[in-house]
Symmetry: C2
Subunit: 353 residues, 2 copies
């Protein structure tokens, strides 16, 4: 922590935590007492400050409103039985944040602001990290272009902020997916691998059409041929054929998920064979027909692992079997054991706050 | 205009126009006295208001900051010798705005708010529309997702706003372009045809790399093969081979430009043969070699028509000739004659304010 990056802390007069009904939270709607804010201008990050969560003033000409120069991360803090608080692989999020920044022509955020700031903020609001299965504090670091002016060029000023929202394990209901054959999420040479704001807005309309048909999510396919599975809206995708677990390789178009990486590692720890390779829609349908298709599941920070109950591709539909020996359930329990400090942290993924 | 959409006007106490140095404007940096704001919630557009230009309060969790649900339009108002003020084909912008809205899962803005609001706003700030060759008032209607909450789903609340900035004909310097062979802007099934904020942020990094090589813009090619020309950052592209003018057809990936449409019409009025069809990079290079490649130019509201001086594609570079009978100059003059009411408006493009 250099002198210039010393973080000023302005505390709330009174915490609002007493007013929060932790048993009735809507995901991402309730925020903790404090937030972090830091401004980049003239080539420097200036005045990082932790202050009461509240509105910010923006000119209507701020570039983020017009040109979508905005990136974010999603990560979680967990509390264990002994009231220790941990982050899960936060370095991975910091690195990915800066990869996103680079692709969006935004300045990188130094580790001392991102990581030290995050820890200080979580520490200050640690009462908001509740103990209990599935409970966590969702952390949302993000960066927006704050220069005023509607010329279509990168901003000369940015705000880096972190806001935090208590989250619980909610039952999503059954998740069925449409495998995309018309719409696409990202192209080679594009920004699909970045956690860029614009990628998400692009998926809302196709996702609404899927919802109208009774499907909750879309599994995107490659834009050029629509023949290979990529990822879902906010999850990477795994397919179990026989006893083998398959997931698509990282490329320009796919977000390199932290949960995905953790699932690959834990599966391998359990002796499950994992193949990271292109998965064609055709082979998934064939495996569905032959009975070899056992599971499809999504992985991501928000819901950890989400089993897919069924899928549709063009006119073809298929329901997945219900298994006793589900990889999804087994691996999910193992990740949660690490989150809540119930097992040894063999891979060094927990970071204590 | 229905009762509910009656636009309330709150005027500034004192105009700031006296402090503006109209001879030294930076594009998109100075805004007029007033702006329009209207909120969509519970399925309705509520309380359109024209009020002093100034900052807005947003929660840091507003969806526009996280998921890039934001669209815009760019259009201009012109003043003629007799102090009449005109918009240029504003209906086209309104229709395109709503096409963008649909693709981004945002509500459409009714004509009475968009068009009547725009005219009322321009009328109120009509002193800001200066008379003179190349002078205009740039209008920026835009819509942003204003619901608070970081769940990745379409917003339930939106703000539609219009801000306006006086603009002048600035000399851009020479424009040379790189024809993209690696990066891409949009994919089939994506949002390239929408004026969506996220499309622009995606182009900044590749454009910075081009600038470092001494090229001011990129001409995008199709993401799947990089073999066909699409459009530039904020301009559609025309290529003149021999006496024929070529431009790429509209599709999922290209913005359907109002200037492009006007240029096609005016060229045809002049008896120039226009072919709207795929243009391969290979044929452009061949025509460059044979001497048949006469002009390349970009078309867009901001700069109207921008001649391209040279291009690079992979290792190949080429300088365009300087012509006496340039289509670009000729057609640009014809459009400006219509803008400034110097000729009859044969196609009904001017709309008086
Ligand atoms: C597009 C997309 N894919 C995959 C993921 C999963 O990534 P992670 O496991 O790092 O949360 C996310 C983020 O949650 C995402 O936004
Ligand atoms: C990507 C893109 N292409 C082309 C254009 C040209 O469109 P128009 O002539 O309607 O301004 C624009 C907007 O200016 C644009 O943003």
């Amino acid at each position: 922590m250099t002198e210039t990056h010393e973080i000023v802390v302005e505390k709330v007069k009174e915490s609002k935590i007493g007013n929060i009904d932790f048993d009735n939270l809507t995901f991402g709607k309730t925020f903790t007492d404090h937030m972090l804010e830091c401004t980049w201008r003239n080539g420097n990050w200036e005045n990082p400050v932790i202050k009461p969560y509240g509105p910010i003033m923006m000119e209507p000409s701020a570039k983020v409103f017009h040109y979508g120069q905005a990136i974010f991360e999603g990560m979680k803090a967990f509390r264990d039985e002994d009231d220790n608080v941990f982050l899960f692989r936060p370095e991975d999020n910091w690195k990915r944040f800066n990869e996103s920044a680079k692709r969006l022509a935004m300045p990188e955020v130094p580790e001392e602001i991102f990581m030290y700031g995050l820890k200080k903020l979580v520490d200050l609001d640690r009462e908001w990290v509740r103990y209990g299965d599935g409970l966590s504090l969702y952390l949302r670091p993000f960066m927006i272009a704050s220069e005023n002016g509607v010329a279509a060029a990168p901003s000369t000023e940015y705000k880096f902020m972190v806001v935090m929202s208590p989250a619980f394990a909610y039952y999503r209901g059954d998740v069925r997916v449409i495998i995309a054959s018309q719409f696409s999420r990202a192209a080679d040479g594009g920004i699909g691998y970045a956690k860029a704001a614009g990628n998400y807005a692009a998926s809302f309309y196709p996702n609404n059409l899927a919802l109208e048909e009774g499907y909750q999510q879309i599994i995107w396919t490659d834009a050029a041929s629509h023949e290979y599975l990529e990822e879902a809206g906010t999850m990477n995708i795994f397919v179990r054929i026989g006893d083998k677990l398959l997931t698509a390789p990282n490329n320009d178009r796919i977000l390199n998920g932290v949960t995905r990486r953790s699932v690959i590692q834990l599966a391998q720890d359990k002796g499950i064979e994992v193949e990271v390779r292109k998965i064609s829609v055709a082979e998934v349908k064939e495996a569905a027909e032959s009975g070899e298709l056992k599971e499809i599941f999504g992985t991501g920070t928000a819901a950890v692992i989400v089993p897919i109950k069924g899928f549709k591709h063009e006119e073809y539909t298929h329901e997945l079997p219900v298994l006793n020996d589900s990889y999804a359930s087994d691996i999910k329990e193992s990740i949660k054991d690490i989150h809540y400090n119930r097992v040894e942290d063999k891979h060094g993924w927990r970071v204590k706050v």
